[in-house]
Amino acid sequence: MSISNLQVDKATGAEGSASSVKSQNRQKSRISLAMVSPSVLVLLVWMIVPLAMTIYFSLIRYNLLYPGDEPFVGLENYYYFLTDEGFAAGAFNTLYLVLSVLAISVIFGVLIAVLVDNDFWGRGIVRVLLISPFFIMPTVTALVWKNLLLHPVSGVFAAVWRFFGAQPVDWFAEYPMGAIIMIVSWQWVPFAVLLLMTAMQSLDQEQKDAARLDGAGPLAIFWHITLPHLMRPIAVVVMIETIFLLSVFAEIFTTTGGGPGYATTNLAFLIYTQALLQFDVGMASAGGLVAVIIANIAAFILIRIIGKNLTDKQ
C-alpha cells in the first residue's frame, strides 16, 4: 500500500474503528488481487509452459523426421548449436542489426524531431508523412523495398544511380546486411521521430530564450538544453526498439532468406531454419534457449538503466 493510499484510508476511516479500516483494506486488497490475477496468470502460463518444454526438448535428441527415437543427450544440442558456424554469424548479425538500427533511429530521430520543431508551412502534413512507415506491415515494407526500390534492374535506386552515371548496385548480393539495416531503420526511425517530436513540444521555450540572451549558440542550446530534455524519451525509444529488433524476422524472411550464406541470418532466423526447415527440434530448442538467455541479459541491462526511469515518475 503506498503512502498516499494510506493517507486517504486514514482520512475516510477516521470516524470508524481501526478494525473496520483493516477489514476494509483487506477486502480492497482481495478485490485488487482478483483483478490483477487473470493477466498475471495467463502471462505466467505463457512464459513457463513453453519455456519448460523448450528446456526439455533441448536435452533430448528430437528430430521430426525420425519419430520415436528421442534419447536423452544432455547438453549435446547446446554443444552443436554453439559450435555451429551459423551461431557465431547469427549472434554477430543480431547484435550488429540491433545496434545499427538503434544508433540510426536515435540520431536521425533527434535530428528530424529538432528540424520539424521549427514553425514552417505544412508542418502538420510533414509530421504525418514522417511517421507513416511505422504503421506499415513488415512484410509489405520488405517486399516494397526488395522489388520496387532496391531491385538492380527496375528499382528506383537503380534508376537514380543510372541518372548520375553510376553502375546500379545489386543491394542484396553486395551489401545484404546493409540493405536489411536500411529497411529496418526505415520502419523504426519514424517511431523515434513520433516520440521525440512530441517530447520537443514540452521543451521550455523560456529557458531556450534565456540561454540565447546569454549568448548561447544553437549548438550549445541543443547540447545543454534540448538533448538533456530528450534523454527520457530516448531511453523509451531504445527500450521498445530493442524489444522488437532482437526478434526481427519478417524482413529477413521475405527478402534474403538469411543469405547469401549466413550474411543476414540473425538468431531468430537461424533457429527458425533449424526448427521448421531441418526439423531438428532438439537443436532449435537449445538455440531458442540461448536466444532467450541473450534477450534476458539485454532486458536486465535495459531495465536496470531505463526501468527505474519509467516507474519513478510523477
Binding site: 500500500m1 518444454m53 514552417f120 505544412g122 523509451v236 519478417a250
Partner: protein, 277 residues
C-alpha cells in the same frame, strides 16, 4: 532590424524546405507503392521506372475478383479485433488494480510483464507449434487470437496503467463513498474519463496484431492466414506481379495507416509510458 527579420524568414524557408524534403524521402516508398498499384504489370517492371502513366484499376479489380483476398482480409479483421477485445478485458482490471491499489509488488509485476515481451518469439516457437498441433489450433483464427492477446497484453496493461495513473484518486473515492462497487467504479467513472487513452490502447493493439508477421507466418497455412501471409506469399519466385503486390499491400496497409494518422497524439502518450506528453 529588417535584415534580422529577413534572416529569420530565410531561415524559416530553408528549414521548411529541408523538413519537406526529409518527409518526402521518408514517405517515398509508400507513395511509390501506391503509385505502382495503379500501373499495368509491364509498366511496373519497366526500366527506368515510370512516374507518368495511364492509371488503371485492373490490379484492384483482379484482386477483389479472387475471393481468396477477402478470406485473408477477414482473417486479419477477426484476429486483430478478437485479440484486442480479449486483451482489453484482461488489461483494464489489471491496470485498475495496479494504478489504484498499488502494493510494493506492483512495480516489479509491471516490469516482469514487460520482460515477457523480451522473450524472443522464436525461443518458444517449437513448443507453441507442437502444443498447437496437439490442441488442433494450427491454422485456426482462435490460435492466433490467443497468441496475439498474450503478446500484446503486457504493453496494453502498461499503457492503461499510465493513463489511469493520471486520474486523481479523489474522483474514485467520491464514487466509492456513494457506494459504488469496483466494477461500477470502472464502468461508470473510470472508462468515461480515460476513453481517449483506452481508445489509443485499442488502436495500438490493433496495429500490432494487424502487422504481426512472425506467428502468422509460422502458425497458419491457408484457412486462418491473415493479410501478412498473403503479402508474404508474393515473395515467391513466380510472384513477379509487382503491380498486384502493390495493390494488395496498399489495401492491407491503408486502414492501419489512416488509424495511425488519426491517433498519433494519443499513441505517443501511451507508447512512451507517460514519459512524453
Amino acid at each position: 532590424m529588417l535584415t534580422l527579420k529577413q534572416a529569420r524568414q530565410l531561415r524559416t524557408v530553408l528549414l521548411g524546405t529541408l523538413g519537406w524534403l526529409v518527409a518526402l524521402i521518408i514517405f517515398f516508398p509508400i507513395f511509390w507503392m501506391i503509385l505502382t498499384s495503379f500501373k499495368t504489370e509491364i509498366e511496373a517492371f519497366s526500366s527506368p521506372p515510370q512516374l507518368f502513366f495511364m492509371p488503371t484499376l485492373e490490379n484492384y479489380i483482379e484482386i477483389n475478383s479472387r475471393s481468396s483476398y477477402l478470406t485473408y482480409a477477414w482473417n486479419s479483421v477477426v484476429v486483430s479485433f478478437g485479440s484486442t477485445f480479449i486483451g482489453m478485458l484482461l488489461a483494464v482490471p489489471a491496470a485498475y488494480s495496479m494504478a489504484f491499489f498499488e502494493t510494493k509488488r506492483t512495480k516489479s509485476t509491471l516490469l516482469w510483464m514487460l520482460s515477457t515481451k523480451m522473450l524472443p518469439p522464436v525461443g518458444v516457437l517449437v513448443p507453441i507449434y507442437l502444443l498447437f498441433k496437439d490442441f488442433g489450433l494450427l491454422d485456426t483464427r482462435t490460435g492466433l487470437i490467443i497468441i496475439y492477446t498474450l503478446i500484446n497484453l503486457p504493453i496494453m496493461v502498461w499503457m492503461i496503467y499510465t493513463y489511469f495513473k493520471e486520474i486523481p484518486k479523489d474522483i474514485l473515492e467520491a464514487a466509492r463513498l456513494d457506494g459504488a462497487t469496483p466494477i461500477q467504479e470502472i464502468v461508470r467513472v473510470l472508462l468515461p474519463i480515460s476513453k481517449g487513452g483506452l481508445a489509443s490502447t485499442v488502436l495500438l493493439a490493433l496495429i500490432l496484431s494487424w502487422n504481426e508477421a512472425f506467428w502468422s507466418l509460422n502458425l497458419t497455412a491457408s484457412t486462418a492466414a491473415p493479410l501478412t501471409a498473403l503479402v508474404a506469399s508474393y515473395s515467391s519466385p513466380e510472384g513477379l506481379f509487382w503491380a498486384k503486390l502493390s495493390a494488395v499491400s496498399t489495401l492491407a496497409c491503408a486502414p492501419i495507416l489512416i488509424f495511425g494518422w488519426l491517433s498519433q497524439k494519443q499513441l505517443v502518450r501511451g507508447l512512451s509510458f507517460g514519459a512524453v506528453k
